[in-house]
């Protein structure tokens, strides 16, 4: 691994560069770049690319510029590995990295312009998720069934009953009052 070179930006406050460093570091950690050495190198690469550009005139914060830079690095890297346009390869590349366990098996290769093992490239290119095997569509429809007596006697009544909460409440109260009336009458015979 190359030795770290000094980073001396000519514009931007040190506090802003520190914030950009932290943001890029968080982003790379979300990518499971666990090696601190490798992570530091990648952060410096990204920040150096920002520093090499002229300062922004539209007030874009350094954190945004740094993350944009690292995202651009990734898109270029994924596009090269996946051999697809950048807009297609980003998601596919991230997925490939996850499925081939790239960060665990080849911890120093992420975003490296060279030295990418062929196995890693092949595995990333082949990686895909399938929610199921190829469809083999069947027609599953209910068969005719004669439900006999039940719908004839109760179908309409039940539908009315379920659609009309007022009727339901009236019936409930009638039953309750009827029961109370019955008890009242019976206990006084």
């Amino acid at each position: 691994m190359d030795a770290l070179t000094p980073f001396v930006p000519v514009w931007g406050a040190p506090e802003e560069w520190n914030q950009a460093y932290e943001k890029v570091e968080n982003y790379l950690r979300a990518f499971r770049v666990e090696s601190r050495l490798h992570r530091a190198r990648l952060i410096q690469m990204a920040l150096q690319r920002v520093a090499d550009r002229p300062p922004p005139t539209d007030g874009t914060p350094l954190t945004t510029l740094a993350v944009r830079e690292v995202q651009a690095m990734m898109q270029e890297w994924f596009a090269r590995i996946m051999q697809e346009p950048q807009n297609v390869s980003d998601v596919q590349g991230r997925l490939g990295l996850l499925l081939c366990d790239g960060q665990t098996r080849w911890p120093y290769c992420f975003l490296e312009p060279d030295r990418i093992p062929e196995e890693m490239v092949a595995k990333m290119q082949k990686a895909m998720l399938r929610a199921g095997p190829d469809l083999q569509v069947s027609n599953m429809v209910p068969r005719e069934i004669d439900l006999g007596l039940m719908p004839e006697f109760f179908g309409d009544a039940l539908e009315t009953f379920q659609k009309q909460p007022v009727i339901r409440a009236v019936i409930l109260w009638t039953l309750l009052l009827g029961l109370l009336g019955f008890l009242f009458w019976h206990t006084r015979r």
Binding site: R32, L98, S138, L147, P165, R168
Partner: protein, 725 residues
């Protein structure tokens, strides 16, 4: 597709159809139902004799009308247990589908689908169970003969993401890509049955058989292979249901259920197999299904009289079994096939929640009772399902009417029990003693199945040891009896309330089931659920005491269960008393003494997962949603899966842009579940939000996101699942 095109028709030499023909089955049923009716007739006669003291009052007639169907059920349960006891005592039933398994059968197996429909379940439990089954099949060299399908209907955004992440991780770990699939439905039409139908429509015709599992189901590789072999050997079998054993119960309630089902279950299951034979039932999981006839004949019909024209039966399993039998295929119960497990409800309250759903489902089956073409056995299964809930209401009415009748006997009517007629006169014992005899007769029938089960265990030294020895077996039975006596009245009121509420058309939710044992009951829950029970117990007890102290003492077990419902339910939902009993070997089951390898491994895996440090408290409620937006790898999994289903989905419209802005500016809590789901369904929004969250300066983001970015990476090195990292 015709059933025969996918059925192995060569293996018919030893199929079970040869073991049971229609005549033999009819003979069995005649014997079975004759015993049942004989017992019910004797009891009915005695009851009529007791009530008939020179005529029947309206109350007496009402009591008698309730008594007859209820005693028929008691008698049915006893006869079933008696038949099962007889079969097991003799060493097993010759008419048993598992007897058609050939030893050393090494015939090639067709690839079988294992479908696991889930809905906001404990993800770790589902996936660890799957991992155990996959490994178990691997050990047998049969992993390539099974494809696993996780069929998710989860609508909780966190669960959805957790399921996706876990799926990818599991596939990576077991090299299961192409063998383990994950499908998430956008709209969960018709719940679980719709979920299964969706699978059948997409992939069903690729497979000859499908094994259906529940979220907490576990099956050994051997059991899975045996099920496929049974299907191959019995080409007329449409469904083979196993009898899952309850495992991993941690609470007192769970352990009581586990003990009871393990000890008492076999006699009922063997008895069920005795009378149902090849016209069995299906319980919705831990079963294998022949897909061609299932697809062709078992699509659920609509329920008439529902507001929605496409409302389907909630409890689909009984209906599917009835339709399978109608199509000419058989449904078997492989009641002694080992290696089939499931979890049970951890508390009385959870059990009631599950019962409420099942109650509605079973009541809906009334529509099919008179359907043409349905087998009479299916009608009986449906009827038994309905009565398993309606009977509670009938018992409640019987107790109430019986108490009122006592009041009449003591205070209103001129004649009492001592007015001798019929049997009591013949036997010269008086009405009161005859009533006592009927009570003892009823109790004998209710308790005899437990005695049969105890006897089977007690006489078999090995089985006895697996329950912890004779002393622990007897103590366990006693403890279970006391608790079941106290639980029964609470269950009765729960079920009665459900039946009435459902008849009145009140809504029944489809909530996810709590299946673990962690903090399942708190005082608030217990008071809310049981306050009415306690009130009913106090009022009922007071009235009974006012009527006559004797009545009160006779009914005191019922009142005790109700009055103590709140603390009792709390006690049942706790793990400490269960652990204390387990420490001295009480309520021990054979699965605990000789723990099956799969169960032991599952326990180890889940314990290891739960020992991990959970995410910070502030992130927990939106962890999955945060993960999919923040984590570039998780985001890629989600977007890739979305792109497969929504290949041509264009730029999101104004609604989505507004949601994106809100979630960035105000954090995930600013969106409700539906809005989060909408975002999660849009691949472009998902990709864009991921980019933006990292690009935007802190000043333009909700502080929640800034905090999440800093905290997310502290613990994780792998994209682990949400709550158990």
């Amino acid at each position: 597709m015709s059933a025969d095109s996918t059925t192995n028709t060569t293996a018919t030499a030893t199929n079970v159809t040869a073991l049971i023909d229609g005549r033999r089955l009819t003979q069995r049923r005649i014997v079975f139902f004759s015993i049942m009716l004989l017992l019910a007739t004797v009891a009915t006669w005695i009851m009529a004799d007791i009530l008939w003291r020179g005529g029947l009052t309206r109350t007496e007639l009402f009591v008698f009308t309730l008594f007859v169907p209820l005693f028929l059920l008691v008698s049915f349960g006893f006869t079933q247990a008696l038949a099962g006891f007889w079969m097991l005592w003799r060493g097993g039933d010759a008419v048993n589908i598992t007897r058609t398994l050939k030893e050393n059968d090494d015939a090639p197996l067709p690839v079988t689908a294992i479908a696991i429909p889930i809905y906001n379940e404990d993800v770790s439990q589902v996936y660890e169970g799957l991992r155990i089954m996959f490994r178990s099949l691997e050990a047998l060299g049969k992993a390539d003969r099974f494809d696993f399908f996780i069929l998710s209907d989860s609508n909780d955004p966190n669960k959805w993401i957790e399921e996706e992440v876990s799926w990818v991780e599991l596939c990576k770990q077991v090299k299961g890509f192409g063998r383990i699939f994950y499908r998430h439905r956008q709209i969960p039409i018709n719940r679980k049955s719709g979920n299964i139908s969706d699978f059948c429509r997409r992939w069903g015709s690729r497979y000859r058989y499908m094994v259906i599992l529940d979220a907490d189901s576990l099956m050994s590789g051997k059991a899975l292979v045996s099920l496929v072999r049974l299907m191959e050997t019995n080409p007329r079998a449409g469904i083979i249901q196993t009898a899952p054993e309850l495992i991993r119960s941690k609470t007192l309630y769970g352990r009581l259920l586990q003990f009871a089902s393990t000890l008492y279950g076999p006699v009922f299951l063997a008895g069920m197999n005795f009378w149902q034979g090849n016209e069995g039932n299906y319980w919705g999981h831990n079963a294998i299904i022949r897909l061609a006839p299932f697809i062709e004949h078992c699509a659920l019909p609509d329920i008439p009289g529902q507001p929605s024209a496409t409302a389907k039966f909630m409890s689909h399993d009984y209906v599917e079994a009835a339709l399978m039998l109608r199509s000419g295929y058989e449904v078997w119960l492989a009641y002694d096939l080992p290696g089939s497990y499931e979890g049970g409800p951890p508390s009385l309250i959870e059990n009631a929640r599950r019962d409420r759903r099942w109650c509605k489902g079973n009541l809906q089956h009334a529509w099919l009772l008179f359907a043409k073409g349905i087998k009479h056995t299916s009608r009986l299964h449906l009827m038994l399902g309905i009565f398993s809930y309606v009977s509670s209401l009938l018992w409640f009415l019987l107790l109430t009417a019986g108490s009122y009748q006592c009041y009449q006997e003591w205070y209103i009517l001129p004649r009492g029990y001592d007015y001798d007629v019929g049997l009591s006169r013949l036997l010269d014992i008086g009405g009161a003693r005859l009533a006592l005899a009927l009570f003892l007769f009823t109790m004998s029938l209710l308790l005899a199945p437990k005695f049969f089960s105890w006897l089977l265990a007690a006489r078999d030294a090995q089985r006895r040891r697996r329950f912890g020895g004779m002393f622990r077996l007897c103590s366990g039975c006693l403890i279970e009896q006391i608790f079941s006596m106290l639980v029964a009245p609470v269950q009765m009121l729960f079920h009665s309330f459900f039946v009435v509420a459902i008849w009145l058309g009140l809504k029944v939710g489809w909530g996810a089931q709590k299946r673990d044992a962690s903090g399942v009951v708190d005082w608030g829950d217990a008071i809310r659920m049981h306050a009415l029970h306690m009130f009913a117990g106090v009022i009922g007890g007071t009235i009974a005491h006012q009527i006559h102290p004797t009545l009160f003492w006779w009914m005191s077990p019922v009142f005790a269960g109700l009055v103590l419902a709140i603390p009792f339910s709390m006690l049942l939902g706790q793990t400490e008393p269960a652990l204390a009993l387990a420490r001295v070997g009480l309520l021990t089951t054979p699965q605990e003494i000789g723990v099956p390898a799969e169960v032991a491994q599952l326990e180890r895996n889940l314990s290891a997962i739960r020992e991990r440090i959970p995410p910070p408290e502030r992130l927990r409620s939106d962890y999955g949603f945060m993960q999919v937006l923040l984590d570039p790898l998780v985001n890629s999994v989600h977007v890739s899966l979305l792109r497969q289903r929504h290949k041509h989905r264009g730029e999101p419209g104004e609604y989505f842009r507004a949601l994106e802005e809100r979630v960035l500016r105000d954090g995930p809590s600013a969106l409700n579940r539906r809005e989060k789901t909408a975002l999660l369904l849009h691949p472009v929004s998902m990709s864009r939000l991921h980019q933006k969250i990292w690009l935007l300066p802190d000043s333009q983001l909700s502080p929640w996101w800034t905090m999440a970015m800093r905290q997310y990476n502290i613990l994780t090195s792998q994209p682990e699942t949400a709550l158990y990292r």
